[in-house]
Subunit: 246 residues, 2 copies
């Protein structure tokens, strides 16, 4: 997340004064990338910065935020953590980019929804002006709603990617190529961005095609865990489409 | 599937002589679209056609194929059905486009993998020359391997789309917008086409972040079915990444 913020703000007129990290090597690399000072103790962070981002794991955020002496804005970037994790700071905010972020393949910020929350109107105005510099999709979202978005994000990213992993594994074991699935993966995502996903559903589970389902289950006899997952998701699709009668 | 074949071959020098369908209205529409004759009885199909596609549901293919009098090639387009479903024809083939196909939003054929199988070399040569006219990705795949591809396709399309449906439903119930997930959905698919999906996995299940997982499960207390599915997929991710120690 810190690398994403650096990469995004480096393209704007925002200047980054200090980088703190417990990992000295990574912290120094990041600081070098944005011409900032690297500090290895939060006590040395610039108290006069307009905003301090605590871009850490959820369980470290409150701990580090409590050590910050700044009287200006402190923001975290978590999808799940309440804004109250920063309650030791009067001017606190959440700055949550709703995207999967991997350091060596950073996404382009402009299309990413940035979910903002702040403890007061003036703080919200400032974080909004920052978010506007990097994204065209800035939203005001409270903690409860942000948590629902995070859960939905886990479903469409982590869970979906896990299905890709399992499909890759299934094909590899037969010496078959995952490459043949790539046009289908792209098309499935493209359609979800155009139509309501319910209208895009096809396949044996939706139409209760027991013959095809049984053949698939047979192919999974050597893979009981995937077989069980296949059955659960198939049941879930069948039930939902029976309810919707489509 | 018939609409996809018509749409794809219409852009080539292949001429379509006859269309048979049990649905008179749809069959006539399709025939009109490709300047073909509509026939409502297989007995009236042109016996001299080079190839007859039986683009029907799996359970109807053998039935209709057995009624065909043609001595030229008969092909089906199923992912799961054996080529032997056409065993009443000496020159039989499978022509399976590995893609999700919905009539009112047909995919572009050129990027779609076409999986071919045939009962003899000359038949394979002819269906290959046909497939080459519409796609740059033609593969020779036997029935067993095609069935694995079909199963994997169900996982990355039907199952993935079902997760989109459930995420849409979850957000709708909170009056939140599925639109915010779209950049994430696109990015997840894009990454799967670039790297091995195992390397793209992120999220609470992979890192066994119980705090986040418990918060998600709490949000699902009113939706026991999705809660159970969430738990199953989370367990599956956790186990797999524990095994791989990444």
């Amino acid at each position: 997340m810190a690398w994403f913020l650096e990469d995004s703000f480096a393209k704007t007129d925002v200047s980054i004064s200090d980088i703190f990290s417990r990992n000295k090597e990574q912290g120094q690399l990041l600081a070098d990338a944005c011409n900032a000072n690297f500090v290895n103790d939060v006590a040395y962070l610039d108290d006069n910065a307009d905003i301090t981002f605590v871009a850490l794991r959820d369980d470290a955020i409150a701990l580090v935020a409590n050590q910050l002496k700044t009287s200006s804005i402190v923001a975290h970037c978590s999808g799940m953590l309440s804004i109250d994790a920063l309650s030791s700071h009067k001017d606190r905010a959440v700055f949550y980019p709703l995207q999967t972020i991997i350091k060596n393949d950073l996404p382009v910020a402009s299309q990413i929804p940035i979910c903002l929350e702040a403890s007061n109107a003036e703080t919200l105005r400032i974080v909004e002006s920052l978010a506007d510099k990097i994204s065209h999709h800035v939203h005001f979202i409270n903690t409860e709603h942000r948590q629902y978005y995070h859960l939905a994000a886990v479903m469409v990213n982590n869970f979906t990617n896990h299905l890709y992993v399992l499909a890759d594994d299934l094909l590899s074991k037969q010496n078959l190529s995952f490459d043949l699935l790539k046009p289908l993966i792209s098309e499935t995502a493209r359609k979800a961005c155009l139509n309501k996903p319910l209208l895009n559903q096809t396949g044996p589970a939706k139409r209760d095609d027991r013959d095809t389902i049984d053949k698939h289950l047979n192919l999974l006899n050597q893979n009981m865990e995937l077989k069980e997952l296949y059955e659960k998701i198939t049941q879930s699709i069948f039930k939902l489409h029976q309810q919707n009668e489509i």
